[in-house]
């Protein structure tokens, strides 16, 4: 037991170094998911039928195929087929980002749908185009309402990022595994890895809770 703790203590700087990789992957994926998720949500609520159908296919595909399958498909399959020389790190961000965009689009769609229809009608009555109304009236409110669900998505993406280990991204999980192979102290090391992830989740959720309180719409009944 003591030997295990000593090994973990010695390897801690190396394991914590993995945090940089993990956080980079998570940030990249969440950003990609956000950048795609908002247009997808708007398209799904306000778009013509063919747009809604196309978005439906995107969401169905990226929610329906397991993460690991998609990672291998992109990294070994598509990269070779299209002759792209992307690193495992980049592929992890792209795949996690695409999957997250599918889930985030549904989060934002819920937020948008929660805004009373009267607001859009009032905007039109004032002469605003739909695009302006969506950008300045609907979305600001919808996004604020979506923060709690979005922080849920953050914790999911953080945990899913550990799967990128299978592509060779040297994140926290990969590092714990390497040290375990050298020292055979599997239990203390994977416990430590789990603990690090817990701490990262906690910090992120706390930060998002602060954001949620800051952007709360005073007067909305929730």
């Amino acid at each position: 037991m003591l030997e295990g703790l000593t090994i973990v203590a010695g390897a801690l700087p190396y394991l914590l170094g993995g945090c940089v990789v993990t956080i980079s992957v998570v940030l990249g994926a969440m950003a990609l998911g956000l950048a795609l998720g908002i247009p997808l949500a708007v398209g799904q609520v306000y778009g013509p039928r063919w747009v809604r159908a196309a978005i439906g296919v995107h969401v169905w595909f990226f929610r329906g195929v397991p993460l690991l399958v998609l990672l291998f498909l992109f990294y070994f399959g598509l990269c070779a087929f299209f002759d792209l020389n992307l690193t495992a790190f980049t592929v992890a961000i792209i795949v996690l980002g695409l999957i997250s965009s599918a889930y985030q689009s549904q989060i934002f769609r819920g937020g948008i749908s929660a805004i009373p229809q009267g607001q859009l009608k009032a905007a039109r009555a004032l002469g605003m185009s739909d695009a302006k109304a969506i950008r300045s009236i609907i979305l600001p409110q919808a996004l604020r309402l979506s923060v709690p669900a979005w922080s849920n998505e953050y914790s999911i993406v953080l945990k899913d990022s550990a799967v990128a280990y299978a592509l060779g991204v040297t994140d926290i999980m990969a590092r714990a595994h390497f040290v375990a192979s050298r020292t055979y102290q599997h239990l203390p090391l994977y416990l430590a890895a789990g603990l690090i992830f817990l701490v990262l989740t906690y910090i992120g959720l706390k930060a998002l809770k602060i954001l949620e309180n800051k952007v709360r719409i005073v007067g909305y009944s929730y």
Partner: protein, 252 residues
């Protein structure tokens, strides 16, 4: 709203840039060596988080001697030959055995080590190799190794009744020997000796395969690289550093 989008765009761009910058910005050609990072003492990650091991250090010496730069990239062993062919790595120096099947996909340098595959079991195991390879026993092996395919083709197909469990690394199989999930695991003798040094396991005996040889692998079209590695290997094996390495990593 606009500021948020701009921030978002910047974060995404920054992260992607940081990630891919490493890949693109080498002025001098740096070769990437794919290693199995869970294969002590040939290739593993040391306490400081650096790739280390007999093959890693040998290749570093060869690189210095022959005048090229090399970086060691931990890669999943299962997909290491596809990674080589897809140009994600340029060579494999990581305790790779030469087989006819592999020779169809890649070219090998001259041999530098002969190994025998053995069965490893817990210290309290009193069975022989034949007894272990019998009905009802679970035997572990690393996925994608020559011993894994040998056991499937030559033992299981010929009617042996043990059950084969595949692991992504030999140390994981050793961990399962220790917690009783499997009776024994097959691996090459040097890796087995590494486990014996660290945990209460012992070598039961040779598995019954023919001897195998380790060599470095390169893509078929890289004839110049093959020649460079062969020359470097010859020089390494003639220098005193070769014996130093063998002693340091306990490889005989």
């Amino acid at each position: 709203m606009k500021r948020g989008m701009a921030c978002l765009g910047m974060i995404l761009a920054l992260v992607l840039l940081l990630g891919t910058a490493g890949a693109g910005m080498a002025e001098e050609k740096e070769y990437i060596n794919g290693i199995d990072p869970n294969f002590p003492p040939y290739a593993y990650v040391n306490k400081n988080g650096q790739p280390d091991g007999f093959d890693v250090k040998a290749l570093d010496w060869i690189a210095k001697e022959m005048g090229f730069k090399v970086r060691h990239q931990p890669t999943d062993w299962d997909g290491i030959i596809p990674a080589l062919k897809a140009k994600k790595i340029d060579m494999i120096a990581s305790g790779m055995s030469v087989t006819e099947k592999r020779k169809e996909q890649v070219n090998f340098t001259d041999f530098y080590k002969e190994i025998v595959v053995v069965l490893l079991a817990g210290n309290d195991c009193s069975r022989t190799v034949e007894q272990i390879l019998a009905e009802g026993n679970l035997v572990g092996v690393q996925r994608g190794t020559t011993e894994a395919s040998w056991m499937k083709d030559n033992l299981l197909k010929q009617g042996a009744k043990f059950e084969l469990r595949e692991y992504d690394s030999s140390p994981a199989a050793v961990a399962d020997i220790l917690n009783g999930r499997i009776v024994a695991a097959a691996m090459d003798d040097v890796t087995a000796l590494d486990a014996v040094k660290k945990k209460p396991v012992k070598i039961v005996g040779p598995l019954g395969m023919e001897e195998e040889y380790f060599a470095y692998a390169v893509r078929k079209e890289d004839t110049q690289l093959l020649k460079t590695l062969n020359d470097g290997l010859k020089r390494l094996m003639a220098s005193p550093y070769w014996d130093e390495l063998k002693q340091q990593y306990d490889v005989q």
